[in-house]
């Protein structure tokens, strides 16, 4: 079969139209659509782990909320032991009353320093000097034991007991104590 010139032209035109249609279809229609679908798919897949993480975080916090009250109990109890107001207004009185209860009538307490507590945010440590001019050693030992048991926020960092030359039954004691108070 011999093709004449007009037919060849039509075949070429048909070929060009085919190329045009295929190109337009893939480049202008299907390509962007596929690209968009892929991008959306990636976004969906990326959100999956984030949702899992978010749910995990919420569940973890809820569990922590359940467990925390027990863990925070010591701190709440400690906070409840600290009276409101300036420590200098209540601590010396508290010491005087404590030692009076233990049979030591005279006790004077003075603040000697103050330190920030790095490990315990919201608290600070105050140093006090407690002077007990007349104590009897055994009674004093019992008072120290009671003080250490009843005041968990207090620590005796130094003590000194001197025998009195005038009164062999009595000693002079001086305690340096650190006490935790609210910031």
């Amino acid at each position: 079969m011999k093709l004449d010139k007009e037919e060849i032209q039509k075949i070429v035109l048909g070929g060009l139209l085919l190329i045009g249609v295929v190109y337009s279809y893939f480049d202008l229609l299907l390509g962007p659509l596929t690209k968009r679908a892929e991008t959306t798919e990636i976004a969906v897949n990326a959100l999956g782990p984030e949702i899992v993480n978010a749910k995990g975080q919420i569940a973890k916090t809820q569990q922590l909320e359940k467990d925390t009250p027990n863990l925070l109990l010591p701190m709440r109890q400690a906070e409840a032991m600290i009276p409101e107001g300036a420590p200098v207004a209540w601590f010396p009185t508290r010491m005087t009353e404590f030692f009076k209860k233990e049979g030591i009538d005279r006790a004077s307490t003075r603040m000697t320093g103050e330190l920030a507590e790095k490990e315990l945010p919201g608290f600070r440590k105050i140093s006090w000097g407690v002077d007990l001019p007349k104590v009897e050693f055994v009674n004093f030992g019992q008072a120290v034991a009671a003080l250490e048991n009843e005041e968990p926020l207090l620590e005796i960092t130094a003590l000194q007991i001197d025998a009195s030359r005038d009164d062999v039954e009595a000693q002079h004691a001086f305690l340096t104590v650190n006490n935790l108070v609210k910031q």
Binding site: G14, L18, L30, R36, A163
Partner: protein, 212 residues
């Protein structure tokens, strides 16, 4: 033989040409191809739509969860901080140095022929507590130095089971100038100063080394 002439050959030829017109065939082919393409495109559109729906749902869920998660993280940090503070508080309370048991132990080891004239003690350190104790006194007896030495060793022996690194050393030990009445006899005396050192609690650095 009869002669057969096709007088319509030109018409037939034109019809045949029209039938196999390449442009027409191309247009039919292209139309079929376009129809297939269109079908595939719509199928893809439907797929895209479902992906989009999924995305919208997932995004809405994420948008709902994200602030909750952020708030949960913030709360977790707060709780962790509070828990750490509480744990530090417990550790602080439990790690205190208790003087009363130490005084009780000392009371038990001081014999009748020794008088303690001065007792001073200080505790330092955070986790591993170092305690140093100075005991000044007067020992009486036929051999007062022996009495003081017995006291020194007794203190170390008594405290060793309860504390770590207990050392008990004389800072001074001198014969006393005066004599005292003891058990109805006048006996010589010796003045002494004993330095007792001990540790209590956990060594943070040592614990770290052990973990490694």
């Amino acid at each position: 033989m009869a002669l057969c002439l096709n007088l319509y050959h030109e018409i037939h030829k034109a019809k045949a040409l029209k039938r196999r017109d390449p442009l027409k065939i191309s247009i039919y082919g292209l139309s079929a191809l376009a129809a297939c393409f269109a079908l595939y495109y719509f199928a893809q559109l439907v797929r895209m739509h479902s992906i989009n729906d999924r995305y919208v749902k997932v995004k809405a869920e994420f948008d709902h969860l994200e602030p909750l998660s952020k708030a949960a993280k913030k709360r977790e940090d707060e709780l962790t901080k509070q828990t750490a503070t509480s744990a530090a508080m417990v550790k602080r309370i439990e790690g205190r140095f208790y003087w009363a048991p130490l005084l009780a132990e000392l009371t038990q080891v001081v014999p009748r022929d020794v008088q303690i004239t001065r007792l001073g003690g200080e505790v330092t350190g955070d986790t591993l507590r170092h305690c140093s104790l100075t005991i000044d006194g007067l020992a009486a007896g036929s051999d007062p130095r022996r009495v003081a030495e017995d006291l020194r060793t007794a203190i170390a022996e008594k405290l060793s089971p309860h504390y770590k690194n207990v050392t008990s050393t004389f800072k001074s030990l001198e014969d006393g100038a005066e004599t005292v009445a003891y058990n109805g006899k006048q006996v010589s005396t010796a003045t002494f100063a004993i330095l007792v050192q001990l540790t209590f609690g956990d060594d943070k650095a040592a614990a770290g080394r052990k973990k490694k």
